[in-house]
Amino acid sequence: MVREKIVVKDLNLWFGENHVLKGINISIPEKAVTAVMGPSGCGKSSFLRCLNRMNDLIDTARVTGKVLIDGRNIYDDAVDVSLLRRRVGMVFQRPNPFPKSVFDNVAYGLRIHGVRNKGELRERVEEALKDANLWDEVKDRLFGSALELSGGQQQRLCIARALAVRPEIILLDEPASALDPISTAKLEELIEKLKEDYTIVIVTHNIQQAARISDYAAFLMLGELVEFGRTQEIFTAPKDKRTESYLTGRFG
């Protein structure tokens, strides 16, 4: 039996009057890749941002329900958002390295959380870059600007930046949507490797990608969770008519 890392209970999200997520219930298993699919505007990115409370940054956002990580509700008043986001890393749609050196990008999170020792910084930056399959490509240009890297390298750098603070969960918000096919392949290979150590939730509207890399898949439509289960089952025998329509390309 798989352990459930994230349990979402009756989650609702509003942006102002706009009811974006409607009563979501889902249990995301540990050390596996869970894909969240759905047509544009179905709320899948907003859902992802509920898992590390990034929606807090939007003034009009309002959340009800619970998100339990290891049994603890992250929306409890006592929760330190900074520590939560350290445990739940995030990588965005468009690669967004800081306009700093490769090294400083990866070290940023470490410094924020109080790592000052130079030797330790260097070790953990190297470790994170190796884990993100980027070390060999950047080891000779650690102090060059991160903006000089290719798009695919930048995205893996963003993953390294997230890995450096040793999170338990990694949220990926359409991480390949701005990448070419070869970079995408490298990224998927990396995700495959990372799931041995991390719980991964990836939002994608690329159905093939979800099929390739995920162990579990959720299908969201108009803010509702239509179906959730093992990827294989969802793709071969969807229980809901809407899921089937979506997967066969009836709408997208």
Binding site: M54, L84, R85, R94, F98, G109, I112, L147, R161, A162
Partner: protein
């Protein structure tokens, strides 16, 4: 007929540009021609002599440097911190909008009003006297709106993605501002500061009652000494002199030095902005 109207319109527009440019250009030429006659290394490096009818303008150059740097030294930290607060923490309430409007209005207030304010507050109330300190503070207040506005604009231009990335790593707001927003906004802030220097260097009215003196035999030894300054020097030479045939050329020379100084400062600002634009790839 329509073609004719178009032709007339064209000519009118074109003439306006030509006349405008002509005035600007002739300003530079007149100052340069009249000023170049007295310009020499000695003019830049010597004290005035013979009751302001000979010698150089060295103390006025030094004075203007001190006043402008003092003004920026005071206005830059205050303006940048204020802008950070306004942009990042204050939100968008009515009070904040009123403050912002107030700041923008402040930049339209005639500079002689700042001079009177400086006289009342810094010279008299705080007892700093007519001094470098009083003049710097007065000029600082004058350029504060410039610095606040350019800083706000620079902060606003930092892409949201950078902030998000920082927050997603668990950074607090202040860590994000300090570690990501400010470094990315730095070129814009610097540009504003340098333009502020240029503005402060050229102002006469604010230092008229607060800092400037027609003649001192010494460079200021402390912030509480009065100083000579380029713009005031021109004003004094043209109004207080008894030998205009010697003094007017010196005034033109001083004007040329001031003009070159301000142009140089603006040029530096342009270079910084240009290089920052080229370097950024977001």
């Amino acid at each position: 007929m329509r073609r004719f109207k178009q032709f007339v319109g064209f000519v009118v527009l074109k003439t306006s540009v030509v006349v405008g440019v002509l005035f600007l250009f002739s300003l530079i030429v007149v100052i340069a021609l009249n000023g170049a006659r007295v310009l020499s290394p000695e003019f830049l490096l010597e004290f005035p002599r013979e009751g302001m009818t000979g010698g150089g303008i060295f103390p006025a150059i030094v004075g203007t440097f001190l006043l402008s740097l003092g003004a920026v030294g005071f206005a830059l930290p205050l303006g940048v911190l204020g802008a950070i607060y306004l942009r990042e923490y204050a939100g968008g309430g009515r009070l904040v909008r009123a403050i912002r409007t107030g700041i923008n209005t402040l930049s339209g207030v005639p500079s002689v009003v700042f001079g009177l304010f400086g006289l009342a507050v810094f010279v008299k109330l705080f007892g700093f006297g007519v001094s470098v300190l009083s003049g710097s503070l007065t000029l600082g207040i004058l350029i504060l709106p410039v610095i606040i506005r350019s800083t706000e604009e620079a902060i606003e231009a930092v892409p949201r993605e950078f902030r998000e990335a920082s927050y997603a790593l668990g950074a607090t707001k202040w860590q994000t501002v300090k570690g990501v927003v400010l470094p990315a906004a730095l070129p814009g802030i610097l540009t504003g500061a340098i333009l502020g220097v240029g503005r402060a260097a050229g102002e006469t009215a604010p230092i008229l009652f607060t800092a400037a003196t027609f003649y001192t035999r010494h460079l200021p030894g402390s912030p509480f000494d009065e100083v000579m300054a380029l713009p005031y020097h021109i004003y004094a030479l043209m109004t207080e002199g008894t030998e205009p045939e010697h003094q007017v050329p010196i005034a033109y020379g001083t004007a040329l030095v001031l003009l070159l100084l301000v142009l140089a400062v603006n040029f530096i600002a342009i270079v910084i902005r240009y290089r920052a634009r080229r370097a950024r790839k977001w």
